[in-house]
């Protein structure tokens, strides 16, 4: 995974698989380079025994093979930057995943194409309710599928290619306004180490 947005897409698909009706994605960037990504759903949740080993690469819900790399890779990526990954889950209630990254760390992947990831998530699960909010010291980008559905009505699916293109462009404009340059080159060498 070369971008954090790809992790986001990958992990949020677990919420879809868990039968979530509502998924909330928030990204919070503070002035010190810390990025907190939280993905909360109201899916079926996980039993404590499964939760305890969910970031083990040899734990998976899939039946075709015994390897599941999405969460282990995300945990590794977060920890490599000095951050962390935590997951709270209750059976029948839902799951909240929180990952923290130090974006100024050399090993922190770029955010990547967040609008593309969010638009594809919506396109892939057009009936799920999704709220997205990315807050930075410069501003915020936000989108709620409930708002879009109010306009589109029941006849037009959020999976339509034209709607997908609109969502992508709408979010891209907002993300560009709120973007913060947190590449390692943007800070002094001393801070990186």
């Amino acid at each position: 995974m070369k971008e954090l947005s790809l992790h986001l897409l990958d992990v949020a698909k677990n919420s879809v698989a868990a039968g979530a009706k509502h998924v909330s994605i928030t990204l919070d960037e503070d002035g010190d380079g810390w990025l907190t990504i939280a993905i909360a759903d109201d899916g079926r949740g996980m039993a404590p025994e499964f939760l305890a080993q969910v970031t083990d690469p040899f734990t998976t819900t899939r039946t075709t093979r015994k390897v599941g790399l999405g969460l282990p890779l995300l945990r590794l990526t977060a920890e490599q930057t000095g951050g962390s990954l935590s997951i709270d889950s209750t059976l029948g209630v839902g799951t909240t995943l929180t990952a923290r990254f130090q974006r100024r760390h050399l090993d922190c992947p770029p955010l990547g194409d967040l609008p593309g990831a969010v638009a594809l998530l919506i396109q892939g699960s057009p009936d799920m309710e999704l709220t997205y909010r990315h807050t930075t010291p410069r501003g915020e980008a936000a989108l709620s599928t409930a708002e879009l559905r109010d306009i589109l009505g029941d006849d037009v699916s959020l999976a339509e290619p034209e709607v997908f293109a609109w969502i992508q462009d709408y979010l891209t404009e907002q993300e560009n306004e709120a973007a913060v340059d947190a590449s390692p080159a943007a800070v002094s060498e001393g801070e990186v180490q």
């Binding site: 995974m1 790809l6 897409l9 990958d10 698909k13 698989a17 899939r62 075709t64 599941g68 790399l69 999405g70 890779l73 194409d113 593309g116 990831a117 594809l120 396109q123 892939g124 708002e147 879009l148 306009i151 589109l152 009505g153 006849d155 037009v156 999976a159 339509e160 290619p161 034209e162 709607v163 997908f164 293109a165 609109w166 992508q168 462009d169 709408y170 404009e173």
Partner: protein
């Protein structure tokens, strides 16, 4: 600036197209594998390329959807094309630049792009 007003215009346009589509029994389905393996191999730009190309050409008889792991992780990104009455075609090791040819030749002209299929890769 993109506005919610534009979305209203899209709605009106789509509703007109929907009326046509309901009568259309030749609906083609494109399914892209978007599990961890697919995403890591580059499925997202491929999926976006399909949506962009179909939108650009205004194809109303094509549905694009996502699925999990199709089972051949080493050949990802993978997309399956279902044309009613024809055998399923599996395209493998896709890159976004390969997508316009698949849309034009297969989805529009019903001619499989053999070089990109799983049969050619194996």
């Amino acid at each position: 600036m993109k506005s919610l007003e534009e979305l209203k215009a899209i709605r009106e346009k789509m509703k007109r197209q929907m009326d046509l589509r309901e009568d259309n029994e030749s609906n083609i389905r494109v399914v892209v594998g978007m599990a961890t393996c697919g995403i890591a191999a580059g499925a997202r730009p491929v999926m976006t390329a399909f949506l962009d190309e179909i939108n650009r050409r205004g194809l109303t008889n094509v549905t694009v959807s996502q699925t999990g792991c199709i089972g051949v992780c080493r050949l990802e990104p993978v997309a399956e094309v279902f044309v009613p009455g024809e055998e399923k075609v599996t395209y493998v090791r896709l890159r976004p630049e390969m997508v316009p040819a698949i849309v034009e030749q297969h989805l529009v002209n019903h001619s499989v792009v053999q070089d990109y299929t799983i049969g050619a890769a194996e």
